[in-house]
Amino acid sequence: MEKLNKLTPYERLEVVRHKGRPTIRDYIPLIFDEFWEMHGDRLYGDDGAIMGGIASISGIPVTVIAEVKGRNINENKDSNFAMPHPEGYRKALRLAKQAEKFHRPVICFIDTPGAFCGVEAEKRGQGEAIARNLMEFMRLRTPVISVVLGEGGSGGALALGVCDELAVLENSIYSVISPRGFASILWKDAGREKEACSIMKITAEDMLELGVAEKIIEEPFGGAHNDISQTAENIGEFLYKTLHKKMKIDIDVLLNERYTKFRKIGEFIE
């Protein structure tokens, strides 16, 4: 049954950038019974753009790792508009390894315009940090489930996106570069953002079709901000079901399935 509130790709971009779009800070108390935040990468510092900790969902202990969009200017100052530095990705990896040790599933929430582009990020190895996560999450011996909450921007999103199952909120987008960046690089005209949205295949439906995501989580009419509790309930239900499914699978089988999920993506002729 086709829903009536289907938005165009550009409208969805506007929805996810809407000031009232719920963030991980809104969702955590609604989805989890408890959450204990853990800080630091043990190497350099503590990045506010990625938060992580131990939580429980309907009695199941899990590790939560999330990109943090701010709800106001002060929160955004602390979280750098959800653009992580290398220490953010390294904190994520540290917590994921901790989860592996204690056989806890990992739940990643993706919500970023992209990894931060700056001098310090380069000095501390932004490329290496993302690469390391891709490699280590691929062989992490515990279930990993990822959810795109709003923006899934490029490698900065993928660094939390190597998982057994990816869900995308109905209006979320996932892309190799921002539509603006796409237009500016390929057409030398950032103004053609709208057009870029329409051809880039960035919507939740596109992700299902391309084999990038397995599930679309429904949003209330008009977007997640119209009913945060309902959205949180939908996310929670997906997580609970998927956790049960994935925790039953032998870990070696699960790792093979994870590898195959990404192995299959690509279109070529031979």
Partner: protein, 292 residues
Amino acid sequence: MGLEELFNVVKVRLNGNDEEKTEKDDSAVRVPDNMLFKCPRCLNVIMTEELEKNLRVCPECGYHARLTAPERISLIADKDSFSEFDADMLSANPIDFPDYAEKQQKLRESTGLKDAVITGECTIRGEKCVIGVMDSRYMMASMGSVVGEKITRAFEYATENRLPIILFTASGGARMQEGIVSLMQMAKTSGAAARHSDAGLLYITVMTDPTTGGVTASFASLGDIIIAEPKVLIGFAGRRVIEGTIKQRLPDDFQSAEFMLEHGFADMIVERKSMRRTIAHILKLHKTGGNA
């Protein structure tokens, strides 16, 4: 071996064994004004002939200019030892990007390449290995489905056959014309690298000019040993993007091989004239290890 002598060896290799070379005119694609070469690092203008005689290394500052993939293979692999994998793989158009097919057709004609990476098997001073070489002439060696698939298969072949793998990286990043599919190649190649590593096998990355974006943020940064050529550009974000953010010019050596070494992201910087010898030695030193 003196440089002049080495160049002669290279020249013999380049002219001797390469089917890849026969159908194209390299000088025509490299620079429009093919008599002169402006060094992007020191900005000196030198005669292309001088550059070629010097293995395409800037005689003024030591910048290691780009090589084509066939040139690189000739320089590294034992003569006649290279056999190519997936030579006919072509990209499709996963997001139906306008003119993508046409653009590639033109590039195929002008470069003789099918996409931005050549992979295969060879020996280096007798040591068997899998090798992959990216070629920046082809859409700035951006990684789309073909690059991702060929690199992944190269890792898988190396894993199955218990061989070391050497990848010469160069890339502008993800192939944006393939949308999200190109982003996923980062995960795919990194996963294949993980499996090769889990089998206890050696992976050497050689970062050449330019290694950036999604390739830096995936398999390029995952080598057991990371070698860089002198003065080449290596980084994640585009220099202009960062300059735009901080509103000031970055120092010349920002995102260079030397910058990577200083900050702990490369093991060694190796000059082109010593690359083959260095890799051969490292391969020999790993011969007895690696029992899965």
